[in-house]
């Protein structure tokens, strides 16, 4: 194999930034996505990608960086869902559905006032080749926060994922850990929207972790495999985008989806 195929694009600064961004965003989404899949929170992950829209439009209108708008909307969503989960007046999935559609509709309405859909294209569909240095700083900071949090409370997150009652018994407070996890989901989604776009971020969050769950029997191995899948197909998607002039986000997601489909079929045939 010609090594130049790999090294030649890296002479450009935008490709170096894109490579670093997809590695870090893949790491963020795969680690948190493993908990999302195992805790059956995929719908919440999907909700985050839609509820970011009004925050992004608000940031655009007010003239500050779109990321901060997305982050604000993500944190607001995390707090809302955490609050709903604690006050069980309606079923959680119902409440998430209402929050998701309301926030997304609000975002679309705000966009119609701005009268420009093009400006938000990079956030909706991703712009991996347009990653800036400030984007990289935000994504790196998110990675540090996620790694530090998992390092500190991994055993408690793991316990409350499969046996919240026992966690409650020993005083771990599963609802508070869930709230922390929601904040981490918000951060990882926001870190990935510039990379593959708000509408496709769920795939990076869910698909590598879902694939890893088919193969691994321990949580640490599941996380390691999910991370490998996300980063591998992230890099493959990036190079496909460079060489074949196709949308990077779509290439990454389709690669992850193909990996899941092959794994699922293999497991199904074997059993």
């Amino acid at each position: 194999m010609n090594l130049e195929l790999f090294t030649e694009p890296l002479q450009y600064a935008f490709m170096q930034k894109a490579l670093l961004a997809i590695i870090l965003a893949g790491l963020n989404c795969a680690l948190i996505g493993t908990y999302v899949v195992l805790r059956r929170m995929a719908f919440i992950g999907e909700a985050f990608t839609h509820t970011l829209l009004p925050g992004v439009v608000f940031a655009y209108v007010r003239g500050f960086q779109l990321f901060w708008g997305a982050l604000g909307a993500g944190l607001l969503t995390a707090l809302s869902i955490g609050w709903i989960a604690t006050h069980k007046k309606v079923r959680e999935d119902t409440a998430i559905g209402v929050v998701l559609s309301t926030m997304f509709a609000l975002g679309v309405l705000m966009m119609s006032f701005v009268r420009s859909f093009r400006d938000f294209g990079s956030l909706l569909f991703g712009s991996l080749l347009g990653i800036t240095s400030s984007d990289l700083v935000f994504i790196s900071a998110t990675t540090l926060i996620i790694l530090a949090t998992l390092r500190l409370i991994h055993k408690e997150l793991e316990l409350t994922s499969f046996d919240p009652d026992y966690g409650q018994l020993i005083g771990v407070r599963p609802n508070r850990l869930r709230a922390i996890l929601l904040l981490l989901i918000a951060l990882s989604v926001v870190s990935a929207i510039q990379v593959i776009g708000a509408l496709l971020t769920t795939a990076l969050l869910i698909t590598p972790a879902a694939t890893a769950c088919l193969w691994s029997k321990t949580l640490s191995r599941t996380m390691a495999l999910a991370t490998s899948i996300a980063i591998t197909f992230g890099i493959v998607g990036l190079y496909c985008s460079y060489y074949f002039k196709i949308a990077s986000g779509a290439a990454i997601v389709l690669g992850c989806s193909a990996c899941f489909l092959i794994s699922w079929l293999f497991k199904k045939i074997r059993t």
Binding site: L38, L152, I153, K155, E156, E158, L159, S161, F162, D163, D165, Y166, Q168, L169, I170, G171, V172, R173, C213, S216, K217, T218, L219, R221, T222
Partner: protein
């Protein structure tokens, strides 16, 4: 209420003069709008005793155990564990839930499941240590689970899962063990192993409060029996 119960060491040691569990006219309600799940329960279990909670499904046995474990708020009356309110003395109380409360498809092995019983002694940010590993090893041996230690928990039979939960309850190292139907729907081998373990707990002067359907052995196996029906105390005797 202890605001930081999960911090490694026990901040509320047992009051040596107090009963292991004492409740007076206890009521517990899952939701304010419904009738109480249990009502008017009065019971005192002394340290080292073995007490049975007997009654049909829906009688309130699990509710009483969960309230004692601090998992449900008390609606009326009083409940104390070694002289403290429930939930304060987390090191002193181990609770074996019913198997259906756990996600058995979660990717952890049996050894890790049992190891979670030691978390109460470590608290936030601390890793488990060699002492914890030794404790887990002993519990696995006692319950004949050593050969299955590396197996994913979903690959265990129902009886093996029940023994795994009992092993975790043992490594918790509590003085009061709350067991929610540990002998329900298990094979003969598991039944014998669990009964032998319960006998060992008696020699170690541990207090055991156990929900059970098995009425035949109440007189021989327990020091005290509380009969419940539809959330109310029908009869209590020693």
């Amino acid at each position: 209420m202890n605001p930081f119960p999960y911090r490694g060491r026990c901040s509320h040691p047992a009051n040596s003069n107090a009963p292991a569990l004492e409740c007076k006219s206890l009521s517990v309600n899952y939701t304010k709008s419904n009738a109480p799940a249990i009502e008017g329960i009065t019971l005192a279990v002394q340290p080292g005793e073995r007490c049975a909670l007997a009654g049909p499904n829906g009688a309130g046995k699990s509710t009483l155990l969960k309230a004692a474990a601090g998992l449900l708020p008390i609606d009326g009356g009083a409940l104390s564990i070694f002289g403290h309110a429930p939930g304060v003395c987390q090191h002193q109380v181990a609770y074996l839930s019913q198997r259906s409360q756990i996600d058995w498809n979660f990717p952890i092995n049996l050894r890790k499941l049992v190891l979670t019983g030691r978390y109460i002694h470590r608290g936030w940010f601390a890793k488990v240590n060699e002492e914890d590993e030794v404790s887990v090893h002993e519990a696995l041996e006692l319950l004949s689970l050593t050969d299955l230690a590396d197996r994913q928990i979903g690959e265990l039979s129902g009886g093996q899962q029940q023994r795994a939960l009992l092993a975790r309850t043992l490594v918790h190292g509590a003085s009061l063990l709350l067991l929610d139907e540990p002998l329900n729907a298990v094979d003969t081998q598991t039944c014998q192993i669990i009964e032998a373990t319960l006998d060992r707990l008696r020699t170690e002067k541990k207090t055991v409060i156990m929900a059970t359907h098995d009425l035949d052995r109440l007189d021989n196996d327990f020091d005290r029996v509380l009969f419940l029906s539809e959330g109310k105390q029908v009869q209590a005797h020693s």
